[in-house]
Symmetry: C2
Amino acid sequence: MPSPEPIPGVRGLIIPIGGAEDKVSDRRILRNFADACGGEQARLVVIPTASELDSTGGRYVDVFRHLHVKQVDVLDITERSQAEDLHAVAILERSTGIFFTGGNQLRLSTILGGTAVAQSVRRCNARGAHVAGTSAGAAFVSEHMIAYGREGATPIAGQVTLCPGLGLTNRVIVDQHFRQRDRLGRLMTALAYNPFAIGLGLDEDTAAFIAADNQITVVGAGGITVVDVSDLAYSSMARVSEGEPVQLIGVRLHILTDGATYRLDSREATPGERA
Amino acid sequence: MPSPEPIPGVRGLIIPIGGAEDKVSDRRILRNFADACGGEQARLVVIPTASELDSTGGRYVDVFRHLHVKQVDVLDITERSQAEDLHAVAILERSTGIFFTGGNQLRLSTILGGTAVAQSVRRCNARGAHVAGTSAGAAFVSEHMIAYGREGATPIAGQVTLCPGLGLTNRVIVDQHFRQRDRLGRLMTALAYNPFAIGLGLDEDTAAFIAADNQITVVGAGGITVVDVSDLAYSSMARVSEGEPVQLIGVRLHILTDGATYRLDSREATPGERA
């Protein structure tokens, strides 16, 4: 049974989702998120800023209501001035869970970056509220966000553009729709710039539940490709020009599915019992 | 008179330098750095990893010796395995100042990122050691580093590639050789992705001395262009495609010279007495 209230002083879950999560049948990812936030007693806030469709926020309200959550608010923020609104901050401050929808991640960073709402989401996560994001929302949660990139399996210098995200963690760089859009090359490029971060390539309908102790648990129908370049024996990244292929020797990959875990601190993967 | 020892528990100065700093006549920037680190009693460490020239480290040793610093070590790290060396870490841990030379910032991030040496530099700065970097070294000190970019005065979407840097602060994005290489456009592009950071465009022979209270003091012969996009009335960044010009309404600029100060927390600039 999940606790109905976050534990004070312990960072809440950070939950990037690879996009296209099941909203109609089992709804495993959204159900796990809602349960972690307190189930019926959860106080959820949906932020549909990434989307240009008016219907996106309401669609998630319906899904969470079907999962028996009684209180779901939508913060319909489409410009920076609205993200300074103290009423919006008050709604966030009493939430147990915050959900960023998909759309365009540059709408999230350009509209919310540095505002009172962004600062409040960071505070909420630090005090224990769980923060999930799907697709563009998944890209946004970490400190280093992929803004643009090209498709393909191998790394090309300059193939990917990173920019600052919300910054709930700087330990991972997230890419979404991973298998569906052939994004291994751009994720390896992003990591090769600076090997300190771990890459998480999230397939659709698949989520990484990142706990306060930096243990990740995989939930969903697809896989998570964990890319660890910390022990590269060789990298040509600093030698090649933009547009040239990058040589990398010693990339470590794990493909993890439902129930598997990965520890960001020790870089150890464990297969799940459900695997 | 600067204190001969850093004050424990207070972050040391973070000093990005715009490149081509005076090394032969007045040497104002390097002298101010050496004095802050303890002058004759300073224990300096030069890290020439950005440079592919063997002579770069020795050149700075000579400059600092001319400035009467008795102890200057060079950590000649050219591959990742050397950056895990415990002897190198021991030298860093007793230093009062650390200096990153110029070269290629992707050599710094790809060779040092996530290693024991990078972690040690972060710890040293947190306990009070001062960390300076020139040109590539200046780009590296912050959490968000410009890896590549195109020249020109106006912003173009995708014109600049950011990647993770050393991460001593995430409050600024630094660009160097600023006036000399016409880089305002790429710095504005980098900031427009997420308006939370402040842009510092550093002319050559010009440095930003960033104190623990986030007050910046300008030292040197050129100017620092401070770019603040936090109050943008309009940004088209999330709407345009890569390669298209970006519309920004309400960018705030300050051009500051020697002795001027800027407070990152309140975003206030003050002209210097020497101006």
